[in-house]
């Protein structure tokens, strides 16, 4: 049987997490190719609507990476993100989407190892959930 390879849409902020992902590369750390990056300026640019769109279109997981609280390049962008993420988790459950497939993590530019680790662990987790069921029953 072919191994199940999830699709994980990742929104990475330019200053911290995307730089951390670059560092994971420079350090030649390994993680699964399920991690599919989209670079944004700041995690606060990530509209909850994007996340919902990703799921309805068939993504198996969505990962949002930003600077550590207090370290945001734009001072407080990641606080907005944190609030929106909490809200999103609630909304997900009411919409019948699986909020356990969402992941928010703070990864700094120096945390290449953390990026690889989170990518590995999160992919394993999504694998254990199997394919995203909501792509089969579009309801909106």
């Amino acid at each position: 049987m072919k191994e199940y390879k999830p699709k994980i849409v990742c929104f990475l902020c330019k200053w911290c997490t995307s730089a951390g992902a670059d560092l994971a590369g420079t350090s030649r750390l390994k993680y699964p190719a399920s991690i599919l990056p989209i670079r944004v300026m700041c995690s606060s640019r990530i509209d909850p609507m994007f996340v919902v769109k990703a799921f309805l279109n068939g993504a198996d997981g969505v990962f949002i990476g930003g600077c550590h609280p207090g370290d945001c390049h734009y001072h407080e962008g990641n606080y907005h993100t944190r609030r929106r993420f909490a809200m999103l988790t609630k909304v997900f459950d009411t919409l019948g989407l699986e909020s356990k497939r969402l992941k928010l993590s703070w990864i700094s530019a120096s945390e290449g190892t953390k990026f690889a680790k989170v990518s590995n662990e999160y992919t394993e987790k999504i694998k254990s959930y199997g394919e995203n069921p909501s792509k089969w029953n579009v309801f909106l």
Binding site: P32, M41, R45, A54, N57, Y74, G77
Partner: protein, 650 residues
């Protein structure tokens, strides 16, 4: 529709090793919008860029996707290439298939598939990119330098000599940093004070330099070319203009405190001048220890002061300065000996750190340069130096090599031997790192001429018995367990970032590594710039280094700043927020969301506006807007959704 050219880079085998570039080229040739596709071994090379430029003409391209390394590396290179061909630089997208793909995956099938997806997202984004022109803003031709060690001093002098104004902020009452504490410096054994004081005096005299000593940076607002800095000057309670440095005040002061300059090995009064050559040359009252404050219990110094220079009621002063660029040169501290359980937790008075030993060696130090140990003044005859104390120890202390301690330890042993001819220095080491110019010669010469004994191995434990430190070490070269009854032990403690700088660095949102050192924009090619525009790095704040390297880096940072200031105005990224006036309801949510005050409500039209120069393009307001009236140029919701779709449908 745009005619887009796609260029896939092999990066030697860095990309090609995991990504089948030929197959990818064939596959993507079919993708809608791709007018031309090609792969090449090194896209960033001259022929690589020429390939792009020639193809633009030949195939009448109006957009380019380069699939290569991270955009932080070569985005501007390729943008410049486009511009040369009269194509707007925002018609370029870089697909990062190296750092975030080929280097992190092994499987060729997967690597190729993921690269294809990444390139498609870049294509989708590019299709909707607008041509934008940079926003130009005025440039303030003044520079702020934080930290007045040798790094800050060198950079200040270079920039001031270049004709621009420098604001130098030092938190201590005097500039000089750690270098002014050193005795003689490797590899040439120049007297540190002799080479340092002229530079300090030059700072004081230079017409382009404004020095704020005893001061701290409170905040910096704005963006490259246009910062506003708030500086707090702590009160010194002595008016520098009136003080004649007569030193009548210190003898009468009843309070004694350990001297910072002598690393706690001598005493100063509560009113003091850090050291005779201090710049600015004035006395300071240390409020934490002075009895004269709250309630007024002592006015002895004020009574003694003829020129009436002392004023206990002085309050902190606040200043605002406009500047265009910042150099951070906040320097280092030593890892505290108190952290070393195995070496007695700093409880033994004759176990010293390197800076304390420098003070003992120094002619201006607590012993006038004679070799006496702190506990009882005895001349140490058996002296042990322990390298890598706290360094290279990921398990219990710090993982990195502190880079200068091999060298200063051999210097210490040599200078000791010159003072105590019948004494014997021993050095425990793991490796000797003497890579600088004439450094190896310095080490070898010291060993042969001065009979310094190196033991290869670490010290496991120091016990104190009577007035001796019993050092339990090893020589792994001969398998001998070594025990030395030492009179004095000097620990080559690890270099750590200056503790009090952490707050400022954090306020400025500068990136630091896991050890707290500032991160440079690129470790090889942009070593003196921060990723944050307008911020430059110099000296040990960026990583452990010795004086030659510190000075080189400081001059390099100065050169970068001079290059910036040679422009007449600054160009600001046009990736800013915009408002769709049709949709905007004037709710004002974006105004409160923007961290830069770039948003305002137009009271007449009842809609929000964006001040392009202030907008940093974070996008927070766009997500916040309930009416979808706010958008970000070249990163619109539609563009992002199209990218999401590429990844989601498989």
């Amino acid at each position: 529709m745009k005619r887009i050219g796609v260029f896939i880079c092999h990066c030697g085998i860095n990309i090609k090793g995991t990504v089948e570039v030929e197959r990818l080229t064939e596959e993507l040739a079919q993708y809608p919008g791709v007018a031309y596709i090609e792969n090449y071994i090194f896209m960033c090379s001259e022929p690589g860029q020429k390939l792009i430029k020639d193809t633009i003409i030949e195939h009448k391209l109006d957009g380019v996707v380069v699939a290569a390394c991270s955009p932080t590396l070569h985005e501007t290179t390729f943008q410049d290439a486009l511009e040369e061909m009269n194509i707007n630089r925002h018609q370029l997208e870089v697909a990062n298939i190296r750092e975030q793909c080929s280097w992190v995956h092994d499987d060729i099938e997967e690597g190729t598939r993921k690269s294809s997806l990444i390139i498609k997202t870049a294509l989708e984004k590019l299709k909707l990119n607008d041509s934008l022109t940079p926003i130009s803003a005025p440039l303030t031709k003044r520079v702020l330098i934080i930290g007045g060690g040798i790094a800050g001093i060198q950079a200040a002098l270079d920039i001031a000599d270049g004709g621009y104004e420098v604001i130098l902020v030092e938190k201590e009452p005097s500039i000089g940093g750690h270098m002014i504490q050193l005795s003689e410096t490797f590899p040439t054994l120049d007297c540190s004070q002799c080479i340092m004081t002229p530079k300090m005096v030059a700072i004081n005299k230079h017409k382009n330099i404004k020095l704020y000593a005893n001061s701290e940076v409170e905040s910096i607002e704005g963006f490259v070319g246009n910062f506003k800095v708030s500086i707090k000057r702590k009160p010194q309670y002595v008016d520098p203009d009136k003080c004649t440095i007569c030193d009548d005040c210190t003898p009468v002061c009843p309070v004694v405190v350990p001297s910072e300059y002598d690393e706690g090995m001598s005493w100063r009064k509560a009113i003091y001048i850090p050291f005779p050559q201090s710049i600015p040359a004035t006395f300071t009252i240390d409020t934490e220890n002075c009895l004269g404050f709250n309630p007024i219990a002592c006015t002895k110094c004020s009574d003694a002061c003829e020129p009436d220079a002392i004023d206990y009621d002085k309050k902190p002063e606040y200043f605002e300065e406009e500047i265009g660029a910042v150099i951070v040169a906040t320097g280092f501290d030593l890892y505290p000996v108190e952290n070393m359980a195995e070496y007695g937790y700093g409880k033994y008075p004759d176990v010293l750190d390197g800076l304390q030993f420098e003070r003992i060696l120094s002619a201006t130090g607590p012993t006038g340069g004679e070799m006496h140990r702190p506990s009882d003044g005895k001349v140490p005859k058996e002296i042990v130096f322990i390298q890598c104390s706290g360094s290279r120890d990921p398990e219990r202390h710090l993982p990195y090599c502190s880079r200068i301690c091999c060298m200063y330890t051999i210097k210490h042993a040599k200078l000791y031997k010159h003072k105590v001819h019948d004494g014997q220095p021993y050095i425990f080491y793991i490796d000797i790192r003497s890579g600088g110019k004439r450094y190896e010669e310095f080490v070898q010469q010291a060993v042969s001429e001065d009979g310094i004994v190196y033991f290869r191995g670490k010290v496991a434990r120091i016990y104190k018995e009577a007035d001796k430190m019993i050092v339990h070490g090893i020589d792994t070269l001969t398998s001998k367990k070594i025990e030395i009854k030492a009179d004095m032990v000097v620990l080559a403690m690890a270099i750590v970032p200056n503790v009090s700088a952490a707050k400022v660095i954090n306020n400025l949102k500068l990136n630091t590594d896991e050890n707290g050192f500032l991160i440079e924009a690129h470790p090889k090619l942009r070593p003196v710039e921060s990723l944050q525009s307008g911020f430059y790095l110099a000296g040990t704040a960026q990583g452990p280094k010795d004086i030659p390297d510190t000075v080189s880096q400081a001059s390099a940072a100065a050169a970068k700043v001079l290059a910036l200031l040679s422009n007449d105005e600054i160009s600001h990224s046009p990736i800013v927020a915009i408002v769709n006036e049709e949709l905007c309801s004037g709710c004002g949510i974006c105004v409160s969301t923007c961290p830069y005050g770039a948003r305002e409500l137009d009271e007449i039209k009842k809609i929000a506006t964006v001040n392009d120069v202030l907008c940093e393009g974070c996008g927070a307001c766009i997500t916040a807007c309930p009416s979808s009236a706010a958008q970000q140029k070249n990163l619109t919701d539609e563009q992002i959704v199209n990218m999401i779709k590429i990844y989601s449908y498989l």
